[in-house]
Each structure stands twice: as structure tokens, then as C-alpha cells.
Symmetry: C2
Subunit: 103 residues, 2 copies
């Protein structure tokens, strides 16, 4: 599987390859803090759409959590639809998005 | 566990009781289509906060999914934080929200 990537370092690349080895994974995206896909195994249009939406979703979710408990922090947001499953793991610098087939 | 409820019918009540039997469940909320908690096992402030946020989150997520694939539909949205876990299952008339302890 080809990884269209800017320079992310071997650790990030290895993690993406490991995740992509799972048969149910359609692709992974690493989104930078400006909301643009930095590295992805998906086509750029899909990656851009997922990046925009999943990032704002996790941003909103994080803020909502802070309203319930100021000390709380979002770890993972999982979105299950009829056709696919998307997971976003937010971090200060990068967000990792994994898109999966429904099992 | 007391259920502060408007009339929801025995089926909804039984489902909520069944979910609440799980030791990790902190509480459940049924949100009506206007975004107000209809039935809940949580205190009303927490229920109201979760209702507002989880409903807009699932609304946003549903729309984002439709932009990726028009025929797709949100089934479940799961939010994992450091301290808790919240799941929302959206439906046309009601949304079911379950708040859980992290295991």
C-alpha cells in the first residue's frame, strides 16, 4: 500500500503500515494542527473530506467534554455508519484518523 | 435505579433498565427530537448537558457522513474520554445516550 507522505519520520510511517495491515482498515490519515492531511493511504479527496469533518467533530467533542468536566480530555471518537467506521485519535500536534469497513 | 420519566411505554423503560444493569453504565438518557431529555437515570443537569452536546455531535456527524456518501447513515457515535465513555444511537424520533465509566 502506497503512502503519499510528507516527511513524518519512520515511527509514524511504521505505525500507519501496522494499522493498514489489518484487513478491515480502508485507510489512515494523519491530519496536522491546521486541519490538512499530512500523510494518508487514501485518495486525496476522501482524505481531505474526512480530515475536515473528523477534526471539527473531535474539536467539538473535546469542548463538550470540557463543559461536563474541565479536567477531562477526549481520547478517541468513533463513528459507526451503515457502510463504514471511522476512528479519530486527537493529539496536540496531529490527529490520527482510521477508516474501516463495517464487520 | 429510579427513572425520571415522561410516558415512554414499557418497552423503552425495560430497555433502559436492561442497559443500566450493566455495572459500567453510569446512566442513560432518551432525548426527543427537539433535543430535550425525555427520560433519564442521570440528574437533570448532567442529562441536559449530555443531551445538547451529544445530539449536535451526532447531527454534525450524520451530515458529514452524507457528504462522503449520500446513502450512508450514522448508526452509533462513541466518545471515549480519560474519565468516561458516552455512546449515542440516533434515531428519527429519539436519540439514546448511554454514559459509561472507563474500564
Amino acid at each position: 500500500m502506497e503512502i503519499a507522505q510528507n516527511y513524518m519520520g519512520p515511527l509514524a510511517t511504521n505505525t500507519m503500515l501496522r494499522i493498514n495491515e489489518n484487513g478491515n482498515v480502508v485507510g489512515t490519515i494523519i491530519v496536522n494542527c491546521e486541519g490538512f492531511p499530512e500523510t494518508t493511504t487514501l485518495d486525496s479527496l476522501t482524505a481531505a473530506t474526512y480530515s475536515t469533518h473528523m477534526r471539527s467533530l473531535s474539536h467539538y467533542a473535546g469542548n463538550a467534554l470540557k463543559e461536563i468536566d474541565v479536567l477531562d480530555e477526549l481520547v478517541v471518537l468513533r463513528l459507526v455508519s451503515r457502510k463504514a467506521e471511522a476512528v479519530v485519535a486527537p493529539d496536540h500536534e496531529f490527529h490520527l484518523i482510521v477508516v474501516m469497513r463495517r464487520t
